[in-house]
Each structure stands twice: as structure tokens, then as C-alpha cells.
């Protein structure tokens, strides 16, 4: 996916861009509303991440202009404020969702998916491995004609494996990505979700293989 990140804090902007690129996304950075307009004039984005306090204006002004220009690129607002009413005000102004800094990128992913899912005509996010077609946006796997729905953690686990097939992930690595740091997770938690995911993949050539003593990887038979 291609993101436009409008954020005046350069440190944060660069780190967010770096983090998103790890997931294979392309990110353009804009440090001001003017820069954002320049980007939008020449490129199309799947999603805009918008900070509220910008040097040359308020993010809400951008939202109003954005909606007035009938541009339908979804916008997720990032703000330091956490009140629900603030979120509602943003949504009323035309934001698609709202994210409170600092955020878990899993949450950003979840919200982005939710936003894109709500929009018709969004670019397809389907990916395939062996005979398995995985659509993170709709949280489904397709095996021939059969579509199977994934729960959130199953989805995110599969996403991890899909991002680098055949790569072996240790349990710890999977845990770190699947659970937030705030959660306490038991040692066998990851086995539970791997087990669940395997059941969703039953019948497919693609399978999650246990590499004894090391971890798990996605392979094709």
C-alpha cells in the first residue's frame, strides 16, 4: 500500500515510515499541509495518515479541503488527544478513523484494514502462496472456491508468515508481533494460534511447519 504521512515531527515521521516499510508499504512524507498538497497533486495514495497540529495549519483544515475536493483517499488522523468526542469531531470533519499517539502498529494495521474494507473500489490486497489466496483486507483465505474467514490474531499471524514465506520465525518473534507488550502471554499461547491457523489452512498446499527447537515457517508442499 502507498501511504502519505503528514506529520511535522521529522523524527516520528521517519520512524513511522521506516516501520511501515518493514511491512512492505511505501510511504511519502509531508512536513506541512503545503507539502501534502504537492504530493497529492502528483500521486495517488491508498491511505493518508494525518497529524493534527501542523506548522502551516490545522489538520482539520486539510480534512475539510480534502473532502471539498472530492478526493476519496481515506484519512486516518493521528493525534495526541484521546477524548472520544475529539474522535467524533474528527470523524464529522471527514476523517475515516482516529489513532491516538503513541500507537501500536498492529492497531494502525487493524484500523487501516477496517477503513479500506469500508471503501468500495479499494485496490486489491490479495496475495497468494501455493494454492492459497490471502486477503488481509477482508480477513479471508481462499482455497479454490472455498473462502475461510480468519479471526484477527489468525489474520495477523498469517500476515507475518506471508510477508516472508519459508522464513523461520521463533516463538518469541511471533509473540512480540502478535501480542502487545502490555499483555501477558503464556508460553503456549502462540502454539494455540498456530494450531488455529493450521486448521484454517487445512486442505491447502501451503502449511505452517514446525521447525523443532527453532520456530515456525510457512512452506508449500
Amino acid at each position: 500500500m502507498k501511504f502519505l504521512l503528514i506529520e511535522d515531527n521529522a523524527d516520528l515521521a521517519r520512524s513511522v515510515a521506516a516501520r511501515l516499510s518493514l511491512d512492505g508499504h511505501a510511504v511519502d512524507l509531508a512536513g506541512s499541509l503545503a507539502a501534502a498538497e504537492d504530493h497529492l497533486a502528483v500521486a495517488t495514495y491508498d491511505l493518508i495518515l494525518l497529524d493534527i497540529m501542523l506548522p502551516d495549519g490545522d489538520g482539520r483544515d486539510f480534512l475539510r479541503t480534502h473532502r471539498a475536493a472530492n478526493r476519496d483517499t481515506p484519512v486516518i488522523v493521528m493525534t495526541a488527544r484521546s477524548e472520544v468526542s475529539e474522535r467524533i469531531a474528527m470523524l464529522d470533519t471527514g476523517a475515516d478513523d482516529y489513532l491516538t499517539k503513541p500507537f501500536d502498529f498492529n492497531e494502525l494495521g487493524a484500523r487501516a484494514r477496517a477503513v479500506l474494507r469500508r471503501r468500495d473500489g479499494a485496490a486489491s490486497t490479495e496475495r497468494s502462496f501455493a494454492d492459497l489466496v490471502f486477503d488481509p483486507l477482508t480477513a479471508t483465505v481462499r482455497l479454490g472456491d472455498e473462502t475461510r474467514e480468519l479471526r484477527n490474531r489468525e489474520l495477523r499471524l498469517l500476515e507475518i508468515f506471508f510477508s516472508a514465506p519459508d522464513r523461520i520465525y521463533s516463538k518469541d518473534q511471533l509473540c512480540d508481533r502478535l501480542f502487545s507488550a502490555a499483555e501477558s502471554v503464556s508460553d503456549n499461547a502462540i502454539e494455540v494460534y498456530v494450531g488455529r491457523l493450521r486448521r484454517k489452512l487445512e486442505g491447502s498446499q501451503a502449511r505452517i511447519e514446525t521447525v523443532r527447537g527453532v520456530g515456525y515457517r510457512l512452506t508449500a508442499q
Partner: protein, 460 residues
């Protein structure tokens, strides 16, 4: 005018000053009435004294044998009419006193003309008033100078004056008491606008910081203008406080976001077990900080909004739905889902939206935080009588051994949550909001497993 005494109230000051003025006027009234009375009594005594003197003078006859003197009985009798005064008289022919009181004081001036001359002297230890008149009488063809002096003590006069003085004093006192009553009424009338202004300002709600526009006497205009200035400054200060809270949030959360992002990146690119463990701790600390910062700001906001309530009519169902929607993606990450049950009709509530949302969001956040994956979080809204009850039920670990009340203390945390990020402020915020909205809050263990948080609020 500088008043040496320091009065605590304008009314007191006014009353005292008016009373002083009234007392002064009463005194002046008394003195002038007394003076007029004295003068008129003096005048009437003089006229009688003069008449008596002239009556004697008129009876003087000349002749071959000397001056014939006849004192008309009525002359002395009428002087005695008051029955109170001693009388003295002296008749001189030339320089010789021919009868009467030889030592009776003589007038200072030469007696000319026919009209009596009046003067006052002390005689035999008493102050007396005298009238003297001179006549020329022919004795053996030679004019002889005859002087008639009649004096009278002033006892009767003093009595009349003292009677009139008493009346003047009564008049003065009456005047003073009337003035006192009027002074009180006047003070009341003068202080009235101040009181009614104070009442009008005092009756205002805590959030009403509008300028005072009611008409006031021009003397109060500086006060009202100062008051309005203060209101404006207060409004500005409050708005700065709000801005400050927002700024503070921004300045804490943005670097945290950067930190957290870097940590996540590091976590993704590192293979080292030791590094990963450290990163986990960093992320945990960042989340902890973030959450604490959020709740501190929430708490500050709640405290600030509690003083500065901007209440509006809300539908509690909508508030709940909004909070739930905002929290849904977070819940989803743990494969949690919400089960919302609300009444069919609106649940009207008159409250500060921000306070209410803070409370509900903290409860929902708690429920998400302490729930294990794959569970449902129930949001139940019921109405019973005049009370709306919002119950949030989870299947998390519950409260452990701590009592609900203890958990709502500031920074208090359950005994069984050391492994979960939290500041201990969440339930404090909820409790404070409940109090601010005249509701109640309790949290208890749920049968089986989990906790049940119940927020009750009065309906609008």
C-alpha cells in the same frame, strides 16, 4: 472626606455618616430653636418690663414741692404675672435715689428719648433684666431729670426657655430618630444595587463567565468593569489551561510515539534474544508511560471540567456506542468483541460529554486490558426509575482480593495485575466523574470469572 474609623460595610459607613449629619442637624435645630425661643421670651419680658417702667414714668408729676411719684399697682402686679420673679426698682431725681433699691445697676448709656433702654446685670446674686427710662419734670419751673429703673429676675423667663428648650430637644430627638430611620432606608437603597448585582453574579452557574451587562448606577460601573475584566482574564486563563492540557498531551505523546515506533522497528530487525527481551521491556515501558500520561491528562481534564462543567443533553446510548466503536479495533486485536444491549428509547442524561466519555472509555479500556483473548465484553445499559445504570462486564481476571472501593483510590492497583500495564488512575477517574455527575460507581467480582463495573447516573 477621610473617615478615621474603618467600617466593614458601606451600609454601616453610610448609616454612621448620615446619623452623624442628622445628629449635627438636630443639634443645630435644637440650638436655633432655643435661641429663637430665648430671643422671643426676652422680647416679651422686655416689653412687659418696658411697659411697667413707662407706666411709672407716666405718673411722674412736677410741682412746687418736688417730684411727685406714683407707682401704679398694675405696674408691679403685671411684672409678677408669671409669679416667679423678684422685682427691683429705683427712681432717681437728678443724682439722688429717691426710692427703691439704691444699689440697682444703672444703664451704661445716657437715657435719651422716651423709649426704655434694656440691659442685663447681676444683682443680689441673680441675673436680672432691667429697663430704664428717663423723663424731665418741671419742679418750681426748673426741669429735673428723673430716671426710672425697673429690674426683674429671669426665673420665669428661664422656665419658659427651659420648657421651650425641652420641646426643642424633643423636636431635635424626633428629627434625629426620623433621620435615623431615613438613614437606614437610604443606606438600604444605596446598597441595594450592590446587593442585587452581587446576587445576580452569585446566582450564575460556575461556567457562566459572560460579562455583566445589567444596568448599574454609574458609581458601580468601575466595579462592574473590573469584574468583567476579571471574568475575561479568567476565561482566557481557563482557555489557556485547556490549551495547556492539549499541548502537554501533544508534547508527551509525540516523542513517545517516536520511541515506540523505533522500538518496534528494532524488534522487527533484531534476531538477538537479549535485544528482543530489552525491546519488549522498552515497549512495555512506552505503553505504560503512554497510558499513564493519558490517564493523568484525563484526570486533569476531569478535575478541570468538574469545576467548569458544560453540561448538555445527551443520549447515553449514543455515548456508549461511540466509545465502543472507538475501542473496537483495539479489542479486535485481542479477538475480543463487544456485546451491547441498550433500551429501545433514548436514555437522556444531562452531563458534561467529556466527563461522561472519560468514565465510559476508562471502563471499556479496563475491560479490554484485563480480558483474555477470544472473549466478549458486555455493555449493558438499563433504566430503572430515574437512574440509568451502565454495566460493563468482562471475563478477565476480576479484582483479586481487593475491594472495589480500594481500587478506586488514586494510583491504587489490584493485587493481581502487576504483569499488566496500568497507572491505577482509571477507576479514580470513573469515581470522580460519577461524583461530579451526582451518580455512583462500584466495581465487583463477577460470578464465575471477571469483573463487573457499574456506573449509575441520574436521568435528565
Amino acid at each position: 472626606m477621610k473617615v478615621p474609623l474603618r467600617f466593614k460595610s458601606i451600609r454601616q459607613r453610610l448609616v454612621v455618616l448620615l446619623l452623624l449629619a442628622a445628629a449635627l442637624l438636630s443639634l443645630l435645630l435644637f440650638i436655633s430653636v432655643r435661641a429663637i425661643a430665648s430671643a422671643s421670651v426676652q422680647a416679651s419680658q422686655d416689653s412687659i418690663l418696658g411697659a411697667a417702667t413707662i407706666a411709672i414714668a407716666e405718673e411722674l408729676r412736677g410741682g412746687e414741692e418736688g417730684v411727685a411719684i406714683e407707682i401704679p399697682y398694675a405696674a408691679f402686679s403685671m411684672l409678677g404675672s408669671s409669679g416667679e420673679d423678684r422685682i427691683f426698682y429705683r427712681i432717681l431725681v437728678g443724682e439722688d435715689t429717691v426710692t427703691g433699691y439704691g444699689d440697682l445697676p444703672m444703664p451704661v448709656a445716657e437715657l435719651t428719648g422716651l423709649e426704655p433702654v434694656f440691659y442685663s446685670r447681676d444683682y443680689q446674686g441673680d441675673p436680672i433684666r432691667l429697663a430704664a427710662v428717663g423723663r424731665s419734670v418741671l419742679v418750681e419751673g426748673t426741669p429735673r431729670r428723673v430716671q426710672v429703673i425697673v429690674g426683674q429676675t429671669r426665673t420665669g423667663q428661664e422656665m419658659i426657655i427651659s420648657r421651650m428648650s425641652n420641646r426643642a430637644a424633643a423636636l431635635g430627638m424626633g428629627f434625629f430618630f426620623l433621620s435615623a430611620v431615613l438613614a437606614l432606608l437610604t443606606a438600604q437603597a444605596v446598597v441595594g444595587p450592590v446587593n442585587s448585582l452581587a446576587e445576580a453574579v452569585g446566582r450564575r452557574g460556575p461556567q457562566d463567565l459572560r460579562a455583566v451587562t445589567r444596568p448599574v448606577p454609574e458609581e458601580l460601573a468601575p466595579l462592574v468593569s473590573a469584574l468583567n475584566g476579571l471574568m475575561a482574564r479568567l476565561t482566557a486563563a481557563l482557555s489557556r489551561t485547556e490549551t495547556f492540557i492539549a499541548e502537554a498531551a501533544h508534547h508527551i505523546r509525540t516523542p513517545l510515539a517516536t520511541l515506540r515506533t523505533h522500538a518496534e522497528i528494532a524488534q522487527r530487525i533484531s534476531e538477538e534474544q537479549e535485544v528482543l527481551a530489552r525491546l519488549r521491556e522498552i515497549l512495555r515501558a512506552a505503553d505504560d508511560s503512554s497510558r499513564s500520561a493519558g490517564q493523568l491528562l484525563d484526570h486533569a481534564t476531569v478535575a478541570y471540567r468538574t469545576d467548569q462543567r458544560a453540561e448538555e443533553d445527551l443520549d447515553l446510548r449514543a455515548v456508549m456506542a461511540d466509545v465502543m466503536r472507538a475501542a473496537e479495533p483495539t479489542a479486535e486485536l485481542k479477538d475480543l468483541h463487544f456485546e451491547l444491549s441498550v433500551p429501545d428509547g433514548p436514555v437522556p442524561i444531562h452531563a458534561d460529554r467529556l466527563l461522561l466519555e472519560s468514565a465510559v472509555r476508562n471502563l471499556v479500556d479496563n475491560a479490554i486490558k484485563y480480558s483474555d483473548g477470544d472473549d466478549a465484553i458486555e455493555l449493558r445499559l438499563t433504566v430503572d426509575g430515574g437512574t440509568a445504570t451502565l454495566a460493563i462486564l468482562d471475563r478477565g481476571r476480576g479484582l483479586g482480593t481487593m475491594q472495589g472501593r480500594d481500587l478506586t483510590r488514586r494510583f491504587a492497583r489490584g493485587s493481581n495485575v502487576s504483569d499488566v500495564v496500568g497507572s491505577g488512575l482509571g477507576l479514580t477517574i470513573v469515581r470522580e466523574v460519577a461524583r461530579a455527575l451526582s451518580g455512583s460507581f462500584r466495581i465487583e467480582n463477577r460470578e464465575g470469572k471477571g469483573a463487573c463495573a457499574i456506573l449509575s447516573l441520574p436521568l435528565a
